[in-house]
Amino acid sequence: MSGATESEYVPEARLKMDLLRFATAGSVDDGKSTLIGRLLLDSKSIFEDQLEAVEATSASKGYDYTDLALLTDGLRSEREQGITIDVAYRYFATPNRKFIIADTPGHVQYTRNMVTGASTADLGLVLVDARHGLTEQSRRHAVILSLLRVPHLVLAVNKMDLVDFDQATFDKIHAEFTSFATKLNIPDLQVIPISALNGDNVVNRSESMDWYQGPSLMHHLENVHVASDRDLVDARFPVQYVIRPKSDDFHDYRGYGGQLASGVLKPGDEIVVLPSGMTSTIAGIDLFDREIAEAFPPMSVTVRLTDDVDVSRGDMIARVNNAPVPSQDIDAMVCWMTNEPLRKGQKLAIKHTTRTGRALVKDIQYRLDVNTLHRDTESATSNGLGLNEIGRVQLRTTVPLLVDPYSKNRTTGSFILIDEATGITVGAGMINSGS
């Protein structure tokens, strides 16, 4: 036998499943790890040996109940300190949807980890403790999720069991958060009262909160509509890799490999290659050994053009009448991720889509206080941007970048900054505008 053949394989529901990436923010105190443990356990994504290991550890620590938080604390130093210090990725699936959780720590000294987790998320889950209500930390989490343009937000009011499932307590937090959220960019907000420890409104509707008419958390995660979050209008195709087989069978083949950031491309489309500005027409789009009728995000395809124009890695293919403007002056919000502060006049490497260059920090306009949304110009001028701080920065780049505002496009609107001496990623940028 030499493995499976296509004929014996019957595609099942999983082949039609869609995907939801969500980021969680909160600390151990909010019960975040317990909630994730609960989601994994109740969706049967936890295996016997994992549960046994956690039960054994809980018993050896003298706990009265199984500490589900232990399921998600991966690194030894984290287990020893009882905290999450890094982004951890978790997976579970229900019959129609697969979920990727970016589990991030909640404390202010880990803002960079939260920014990292939120960068790829369709949905952000913020936890608050019903006993304490909204805290500085929960506001900060909402601010970061909105800065990262995570389109869907869930506020889970946890530990409802400890406030006797009291509706008034929930309503107060709900109202307070809704009023705060009006200052932010949150297109879709859902507030859910839960008890992660007991499982109330996590997978099943709680019997102790019949005053709550909304969905359980799992029901919401399973049904939140994410397909329409994508931009299918503005075609953006960053060229990653030029495919030239130079073989007898494909002697003249020249294709441009890349992943569509947004929009739809079809054979016959008139396109422009940036930054050169040369125009051509799409001859064909290949997906492995098949030609396809159209490409849409997030497909990885190979595009062939009718003309022998000069296209290389770092270029972008867009529509003739709908293309980003090549920009060397970039205005962006930057999250700083290393101990040594970001200073005016500093030079860094910058990576934007598939394009790499150098950037000069021309100005740091203000530091954004992520707790209060206050813009602090004085601190930015005298101290620059410190670790885990977010601020508005002006950059001048050596090469033109093909940018869109981050609010329009999370792929062509984002960049990373790299320290040229250490090679470490030191900053993450979200573009306001380019010129």
Binding site: M17, L19, G74, T425
Partner: protein, 304 residues
């Protein structure tokens, strides 16, 4: 592909494939000397398939590297050869036996072959000057892996420092290296065991037949069923029995157990693991069982 063009939706499996192809192309474009670590196991076969798709109709623009423990399953080696021949890629075999003979690593009689792979692998990477090594690690496999980056930086000693990991945002990967350092690349980080099986089914590609149910002579040891072979002989009180089994992972024969199973097709395997109560590593990998932090420790030293 299973997208319906009417609503421009990609299934989650197609989204994973697109993400992995993006990673393969990014590495091929940015690194001077990549290599694909290929064991012949199901995960590395998915990797080969993704690499094939990423560069088609060109050949895969990097060689593949296999660490030969000396205790590899013959069925796995023959599948490896079929793949390498079909795709026309260069195969480099780094042998643990040769590494011992050349004094690259020391066989103290206590260290497992699995652990000796680390030194052999690091030596091969150094010898050939590879700057990026693709691995088939998945974040769903184990707790320490859940925090692994797609681009995982290794210092000049091949070590992983979990506290020094680079933040990884959007799909912007940072491949900067200093001389002597290399990057481990994990393109299937976001795939789960079930995704792997569905993809193998969807693609209809060759995998070693030891993944499917068959009769085998086995020895039961510490709750695991090990394949009886020259390397695995019965100890006191143990006996060789013939059972109907299959392997969920393939590794070193002395450490990789099989499970009793009637699953002889991909569909049946999917049904089986959908209800399986043990993770694939916990069930059949002796190397992860030694301590709660076993994987984390091996990763720090330079394991896959």
């Amino acid at each position: 592909m299973n997208q319906t063009h009417a609503d421009y939706q990609l299934s989650q499996l197609d989204q994973l494939e697109a993400e992995s192809i993006h990673i393969f192309r990014e590495v091929a474009a940015e690194f001077e000397k990549p290599v694909l670590m290929f064991s012949g196991g199901k995960d590395s076969i998915v990797m080969m398939r993704l690499a094939e798709k990423a560069f088609y109709p060109a050949k895969i623009p990097f060689p593949v590297l296999q660490v030969d423990t000396g205790f590899d399953f013959p069925e796995v080696l023959s599948t490896r050869d079929n793949w390498v021949n079909r795709l026309g890629v260069r195969l480099i075999v780094a042998s643990v036996d040769e590494a011992i003979a050349n004094g690259v690593i020391v066989d103290d009689g206590k260290t497992s072959r699995n652990r000796m792979q680390i030194g052999t692998l690091l030596h091969a990477i150094e010898e050939e000057g590879f700057t990026a090594a693709f691995g088939g690690g998945r974040r769903d496999e184990e707790k320490a892996r859940a925090k692994e980056r797609v681009y995982s930086h290794r210092d000049e000693f091949g070590q992983w420092d979990p506290k020094m990991q680079r933040p990884e945002l959007w799909s912007l990967y940072n491949g900067r290296l200093h001389a002597g350092e290399h990057m481990r690349i994990f393109p299937i980080s976001n795939w789960t065991e079930l995704d792997i099986w569905h993809y193998l089914g969807q693609e209809g590609i060759e995998i070693p037949d030891i993944y499917f149910s068959h009769q085998r002579e086995v020895i039961e040891r510490d709750g695991m069923l090990l394949s009886a072979s020259e390397a695995v002989q019965p100890r006191d009180g143990e006996k060789i029995e013939t059972r109907t089994v299959r392997f969920r992972t393939v590794g070193d024969m002395t450490l990789t157990g099989c499970v009793e199973s009637e699953a002889d097709t991909i569909n049946k395997i999917i049904d089986e693991i959908s209800v399986a109560r043990l993770t694939e590593r916990g069930a059949t990998r002796g190397d992860d069982r030694f301590s709660e932090a076993a994987m984390e420790d091996r990763k720090k030293e330079g394991y896959f």
